[in-house]
């Protein structure tokens, strides 16, 4: 343990071998920069063969994984870190594994009484066994259109297609299965897209203002990381009542899934004001265009101070 609590030694994990490596590297650099401004001593490390020896040499007070996708979010890196005996910020490996799987997370939050769009999860092998077109026809009949096709795991909208015409479905499936072997097909809810970040700096989870996302075209990779096509409203343009319902949904999802320290829940609010849970991220993006930093800024937080508060809470926490 570092002798000076004002200057904790922090390792940020960024990069990794996932499709979202690039985004993770950017998130890592942003958080590192913000934390350095608070006096913390920050080292950014990739997840590779040098990691465990480096952790042994550095003896960090805390590791903050800012890995997006694959082993970074599915709990396995956290399991490995616990083997190395280091303290890790955020959700533990078991809850992380649940949250990482979109269908399992949906099941958990539905049991907790939250609304989540009707869905089916189908592995590629099943299409082979049962006949692809028969399944696709049945899917459209059951879930209707629009329909959202996404890999059951993963982020940054990679492999995601909003299908408005049944003819687009085969191509959407091919794209989805290029990213993973299981597809989540979800009834498309029409409404206002919002993201709600939940933080816990030591006195229980609280929400940041919801951020509303208005996109020209799909909220895809380009829209997320190349400013211009998306207009963000922070806080979201919701009535007080709906804003409270949205905040409540995010907190309940965070708690039902057993998440810790920070999470971001993505929701759609339909015309009746019902928030529909889509998915949750235990390692939300922290880039210049990401939603959590926007929400924090809208709430008047200094990002450095806020990130440092998360770190300090983890250092004194259980």
């Amino acid at each position: 343990m570092n002798a000076d609590p004002a200057m904790p030694r922090i390792v940020i994990l960024a990069g990794g071998l996932s499709h979202e490596r690039d985004v993770s590297l950017r998130s890592g650099r942003r958080v590192a920069e913000a934390l350095r401004g608070t006096g913390a001593e920050v080292t950014v490390l990739d997840v590779d063969a040098d990691l465990l020896p480096a952790l042994r040499d550095l003896h960090p007070d805390l590791v903050w994984p800012l890995l997006h996708g694959a082993t970074g979010e599915d709990g396995s890196v956290r399991d490995a870190l616990s083997l190395a005996g280091v303290r890790v910020l955020g959700t533990g490996p078991r809850a992380g594994r649940v949250a990482w799987s979109k269908p399992i997370a949906k099941t958990v939050v539905a049991r907790a009484g939250l609304a989540t769009p009707d869905y089916v999860t189908l592995p590629q092998t099943l299409f082979r066994e049962l006949g692809a077109h028969r399944i696709l026809d049945a899917l459209v009949a059951r879930l209707g259109l629009p329909l959202v096709v996404k890999p059951s795991r993963g982020g940054s909208a990679l492999g995601v297609t909003v299908v408005t015409d049944a003819g687009q479905l085969p191509a959407a499936m091919v794209e989805c299965f290029s990213y993973g072997d299981t597809a989540l097909l979800e009834r498309g809810v029409v409404g206002t897209e919002v993201a709600v970040s939940v933080l816990d700096t030591g006195s229980g989870p609280f929400v940041l203002p919801a951020v509303e996302i208005v996109t020209e075209g799909p909220y895809d990779y380009d829209a997320r990381y190349n400013p211009g096509r998306v207009e963000y409203f922070a806080p979201a343009r919701l009535s007080d009542e709906v804003a409270a319902a949205v905040a409540d949904t995010a907190i309940r999802a965070h708690e039902a899934l057993g998440l810790a320290r920070l999470s971001r829940t993505d929701l759609i609010v339909d015309a009746s004001g019902t928030p529909w849970f889509l998915e949750v991220n235990v390692a939300p993006g922290m880039t210049e265009t990401s939603l959590l930093p926007q929400a924090a800024a809208a709430a008047g937080h200094d990002l450095g101070a806020l990130y440092r508060a998360l770190v300090d809470a983890e250092l004194v926490g259980p």
Binding site: M173, G202, L208, A244, A298, A309
Partner: protein, 445 residues
Amino acid sequence: MTYQPGPGDSTAGRLTPAAGTRLDPWLGSYAERTHGMRASEIRALFAVANRPEVVSLAGGMPYLDGLPLDTLAELAAHVVATRGLTALQYGSGQGDETLREQILDVMRIEGIGAHPDDVVVTTGSQQALDLVTRVFVDPGDVIVAEAPSYVGALGVFRAYQAEVAHVPIDDAGLVPAALEETLTRLKLEGRRAKFLYTVPNFHNPAGVSLSAERRPQVLEICRRHGVLVVEDNPYGLLGFDGDPVPAMRSMDDEGVLYLGSFSKTFAPGYRVGWAVAPHAVREKLVLASESAILCPSNASQIAISTYLSTCDWMSQIKAYREMYRERRDAMVGALAEHLPDCTWTVPDGGFYTWVRLPDGLDAKEMLPRAVTARVAYVPGTAFYYDGQGADHMRLSFCYPTPERIREGVRRLATVVAGEAELVELFGTAGDGLDDTVSFPSPDLA
């Protein structure tokens, strides 16, 4: 210490709704030429390619391990010690005169006779390409290029808002009849092509070379149509068999603008390339270059000049040839063994082979699967102006060792098999991804 939630957090009341933001205050200020620029998921996928677990058959990095680094270190020290005040100073916009004379020696191997005054030294031949396009092309002008064509050239052409007319190639390079037809069609449409952009030797990405018989034919067609030929020749000295074919510039002083580079035959880190242009064009290139960069790096030019005058650079090139030949053999052998349902070109030099996938497969759609399988390539669409090329991929054999190349192709075979099964299952080639051309950076090794 417990951090207090801010004034806008739910536990502390609501904020007034904000105006929307697009996170870019300069959104209304960008030039029209930026409008096609998009953040591509394909480009993001390449971020994984430089991890050691991934066999990258994507990048075009030369393999530099064979360079005599100790000697180069001594040369660099010598340059700074003896000519430091020149090397670290601004220099001539046209380039160092000694180096320009030495460049003539290099080009003589491919039959080019020129005068030092004809040479303009540039920051890599990529800058020469930019200057040529800047000097000749207005928005909407047409440039004729091979189908496929070098991705970095297409990027420059797009930046200057040119349109590109692709002309088919075969195993002997650009097809003269198709070139004639394209130029005639453009003329009938009232649109004159400004220049033909061609990589005649060991083409990037196609791996083929323009045959000796076709070179005068292509020159004659362009001359007749009043079209300048831009001959881009970074790989000409890296042929695996026999002597280099005479450059097109060796057959036509006035109709050919020649681009050369030390990046592949020596080292790209110096960023030294050059253009050889007819007198009037050269003057404009120098002026354009001075407005862009004032002058090419003196330090780099003097380093290369010293290398050329004190080292056996031809032996280095021969060593490169042998090494790349071995890698080409590994690539072609592995393709035959693992991907019998694909077809590919067998290059006689250079860095690349161009692989056609089985029917219905889309190389861009397949890339995430490849990244998962720890192998990377460049999808064919990157090498076309108009979204063609989805059924092709470019594989580089320049950087990975022969063992890694074989492993990469073995991984690729499982990727292709998986994608083929998927496409067959859904009866589609898939078109979910957009048709944005991506620009993989050259260091994707």
